[in-house]
Amino acid sequence: MDAIMTDTGFVDVAALDDIPQRGARTVATAHGDVAIFRTGDDAVFALRDSCPHRGGKISHGIVHGHGVTCPLHNWVIALATGAAEGEAAASCVPRFPVRVAEGRVLLDVSAPLAPA
């Protein structure tokens, strides 16, 4: 995984301030929509915008701590791992490399990260 993840794969997608704290914005990609989350402590995560349960758009969920609650049926997804709280390990939301540099959000959608 690390071999694929080169610096050149990162693309500037937004300013950090475009994403509200405890909120998310989306990026359209070849892998489908990717949701970029910004937590209350300014951590940033990128996950596919689809709940493993019924495909709900988790970008619309309420962000709390380092988790998000899917708006459809209240599944809680851990942003750091993509795992659904209390669900089987298989129910993981794919994650993408994302980082913040000088107030800009850099996203790499060349390939999802390996499951945590």
Binding site: V11, V13, A14, D18, I19, P20, Q21, R22, G23, R25, T26, V27, A28, T29, A30, D33, I36, G40, D41, R54, G55, G56, K57, H60, G61, I62, V63, H64, G65, T69, P71, L72, N74, V76, L107, V109
Partner: protein, 814 residues
């Protein structure tokens, strides 16, 4: 008496103070009636609590309040009390005690409990009027004769007793200066940091504290008028109180040839060098030590009582003890080697804002000393660790914070230790005694009972835990606390408590609530955040800034999310009435945005389903242009007001139900609620608008309007209850506004009116809205006030704002 003295051994007690009487009590408990008891007391009083002289001086207590054993106690235990007669001679050969007034009492066993005397500084002027000590009720009387408001008082001695005297004089309004020889106050109990905080605290109350200062003389002709210090300064004063220490009263024992050093020397069983004579309390010296605090003296009383009654038991060893004091209202504790040395380490916790300090002194991971000031609530636990020699290696990181993390603390203890005069409820100024008396007098059994009777805990609620502790203490197992159903796992509080504290604590933001109510998570969860957002919005209309990130997606997007991620859009149709212009605008929007489905809703509106997220702002703009606004079909808000055609068209109609419905909707649109709210108005009892399954239903009659509440056509069908009957449209509006506001202010978030009414009872709602006219008008006024902020069309606001990335992707990388 002559006959019985032969059959029972005679016990004579010299000293009617705390140590002597405690021993007598212990004896009576072990072997009641075994002795014929006579007690001599120098003071003309029954035994009183010397520790309470300070509150007596401060006027917080009366003498009756500090009596430990009243005259009846002596009488009922057959004890002969000779109060006010000083014992000046013991004839050990004949075993007779003689008082100053000539009273003689023969003994078989003698107990000396003569206590101690305050040390008087041997400096010039010590004999002047107005120079005195602080040791007895008589001393308090002398001080009160001088220490009226505005008088100047100097206390010599910054130890426990001196500061107690200073505190009492301060409360009496005197201008107090404390002079202390040592560099820090209470150096026998406190380290320098703790002493510094104490000094600050006393100075903040207006006392002057001079440490490292020595007194040279008292100046005056008959009466003291100033204190002269070693450095030549003079401090004008009306009163000098010396509290520089005590020394054992061993003079009587010494005069009769008992072995004495500083005090009367006793063995481990409190026996003096004469086997028929025991001694106890501050007059004794045991193993080279003298005593001044109560804890070891109580232990002495136990040991002496066993020895005197011939009960087997182990001897006296002064156990390590923790000194817990409240000096001048400042809580403090100290124990063990609290100063530490080169072989010890310290853990220190300070809270500058609260003025608290605690320090644990460790040797090889064991607590060997502790000192705390400002908050001594965990001292008992720390002391237990000290006494047990517990290895605290594993909890070293958290041990300073106390046992709370282990759930081992007893929070009740702190409350129960408070005096009756201590204020429990700061909002309503209710003190502990008022609550405990009310619990007893009125048989109160719940926090709600206490709130209703005393007002305690009825405002901000932060004292609820303390009130519960008092109920537990009063009722024991009878007390069944209301089962609390916490809002969510982020808090232990239930919805009602959270709402009460938001209002009472004037908490006006989500972070403020989470801080004040000690939320367990950094920013809540999907359960509590929307609830808090609503509670704050309801409590502080116009002030609270709505937090979009704490709203469910539908309310954040002002549209209903569908299972495929698209949205449905429902414009408001007032009372279910529309026209060609609105219908044409809807048709145009459907065509323009290729909206896949259009449906008539049960609430007499039109639903456009399958609208793409990015189209929402333009759809709204087009609908707004035709005068259509948000129908709030997506919100915990006022939804529809369904109507029938009413008297305008229907042959059965008795009133203009459509006009009534529109008026209701115009008044209440835009209002946020704990859950969705649906209304309906029917023009006759045939009820075509199905008003009897709505949250607020109105049915017209010949005489006026029936107002119905609490209906629900959902999973659990519930017909409405009749709230009342009214006659005018204005009344319908007022009652509706009041009802909605009561629901807004008191229901739990996500609780529909039906379960809310079942929970609180229809009678309660009737009382609040129908019977109490003033309350109804106040509720309605609050609703209408909130509406002045709420009635703004969110669609217009969102579509006018720069179309943010809320509705689009921030980037496209396809």
């Amino acid at each position: 008496m002559h006959g019985t003295t032969l059959s029972r051994p005679r016990l004579v007690v010299v000293g009617n103070g705390m140590a002597g009487m405690r021993t007598v009590e212990e004896i009576l408990a072990i072997a009641p009636g075994i002795f014929d008891i006579t007690v001599f007391g120098a003071e003309p009083h029954p035994n009183y609590d010397r520790i309470m002289l300070s509150p007596l001086l401060a006027g917080e207590k009366r003498f009756e309040d500090i009596v430990l054993n009243d005259y009846d106690w002596y009488a009922s235990n057959g004890i002969r009390l000779i109060a006010g007669e000083h014992v000046d001679w013991i004839d050990r050969a004949r075993r007779i005690v003689r008082g100053a007034a000539g009273t003689e009492a023969p003994y078989d066993l003698l107990l000396l409990a003569t206590g101690s005397s305050p040390f008087v500084l041997p400096i010039p002027g010590a004999e002047l009027d107005g120079v005195q000590t602080f040791r007895s009720v008589a001393d308090v009387g002398d001080m009160l004769a001088t220490a009226r408001s505005g008088a100047k008082a100097v206390v010599i001695g910054g130890g426990l007793l001196g500061l107690e005297a200073a505190h009492g004089l301060d409360l009496r309004g005197a201008e107090v200066t404390v002079i202390h020889l040592m560099p820090t106050l209470m150096e026998r109990q406190l380290d320098a940091s703790a002493a510094h905080l104490l000094k600050q605290n006393l100075e903040a109350r207006g006392m002057t504290i001079l440490t490292g200062t020595e007194t040279a003389a008292f100046i005056g002709d008959d009466r003291v008028r100033a204190v002269r210090l070693k450095d030549g300064r003079e401090i004008p004063t009306d009163l000098v109180v010396m509290a520089v220490g005590i020394r054992p009263n061993a003079g009587l024992a010494r005069a009769t040839g008992l072995e004495c050093n500083r005090g009367v020397i006793v063995d481990d069983f409190l026996r003096t060098s004469d086997p028929a004579i025991f001694a106890i309390g501050e007059c004794v010296e045991h193993d080279g030590k003298v005593f001044g605090l109560v804890a070891p003296i109580w232990e002495m009383a136990r040991v002496a009582a066993r020895a005197m009654t011939g009960t087997p038991g182990i001897g006296f060893t002064p156990a390590a003890s923790v000194t817990r004091l409240k000096v001048s209202g400042v809580e403090m504790a100290s124990a063990g080697a609290f100063l530490g040395d080169s072989g010890t380490e310290d853990i220190v916790l300070r809270d500058g804002a609260r003025g608290t300090y605690r320090r644990l002194v460790l040797r090889e991971n064991r607590i060997v000393g502790l000192v705390a000031i400002g908050d001594a609530s965990d001292a008992a636990w720390h002391f237990q660790l000290l006494k047990d020699g517990t290895d605290i290696g594993e909890i070293r990181d958290s041990v300073i914070f106390g046992p709370l993390a282990d759930g081992a603390a007893d929070p009740d203890e702190a409350v129960l230790a408070l005096p009756d005069g201590a204020e429990i409820c700061g909002c309503n100024g209710v003190c502990k005694g008022t609550i405990t008396r009310a619990i007893k007098a009125f048989g109160l059994a719940s926090v709600d009972d206490v709130r209703a009777r005393t007002k305690a805990s009825s405002s901000c609620g932060s004292c609820t835990g303390q009130v519960e502790a008092l109920l537990r203490a009063a009722l024991g197992r009878e007390y069944a606390p209301a089962t609390v159903k916490p809002v969510c796992k982020c808090t232990g509080l239930d919805h009602g408590e959270v709402r009460r504290r938001i209002v009472g604590g004037k908490l006006k933001s989500i972070p403020a609530v989470m801080q004040a109510l000690e939320w367990k998570t950094p920013d809540g969860c999907h359960v509590c955040r929307p609830a808090l957002n609503f509670y704050l919005l309801c409590a502080w209309p116009g002030e609270y800034v709505d937090d979009a990130q704490s709203r469910f997606v539908n309310e954040r997007m002002h549209a209903n999310i569908q299972k495929d991620g698209t949205f449905s859009v429902v414009p408001r149709m007032w009372g279910g009435v529309t026209n060609a212009r609105e219908l044409r605008a809807i048709a145009d929007v459907v065509d323009k945005f290729d909206i896949p489905e259009v449906k008539i809703t049960g609430g007499q509106r039109i639903d456009m389903l399958g609208v793409k997220r990015e189209d929402l702002p333009t759809v709204w703009r087009d609908l707004n242009a035709a005068g259509l606004v948000s129908g709030h079909a997506y919100g915990k808000a006022l939804r529809t007001v369904k109507t029938c055609v009413g008297s305008e068209w229907c042959r059965f109609g008795t009133q203009n139900s459509t006009r009534m419905g529109i008026a209701l909707e115009k008044m209440s649109w835009g209002s946020w609620h704990p859950h969705k709210v649906k209304m309906a108005v029917s023009g006759c009892p045939r009820n075509c608008a199905e008003a009897s399954i709505k949250d607020f239903g109105v049915i017209a009659t010949e005489a006026g309007w029936d107002l119905l509440v609490g209906g629900n056509g959902g999973i659990r069908l519930r017909g409405t209850d009749l709230l009342c009957k009214v006659t005018t449209e204005a009344e319908v509006l007022e009652y509706c506004a009041a009802f909605l506001q009561l629901y807004r202010e008191e229901a739990h978030y996500l609780e529909r009116t039906a379960p809310w009414i079942e929970r609180v009872g229809l009678d309660y709602v009737k009382q609040a809205v129908v019977e109490d006219e003033d309350n109804r008008k106040a509720l309605a006024a609050r609703f209408l006030h909130a509406q002045t902020f709420a009635q703004a069309d969110p669609w217009a606001m969102e579509s006018a704002a720069a179309a943010g990335a809320k509705f689009t992707h921030v980037a496209e990388l396809t």
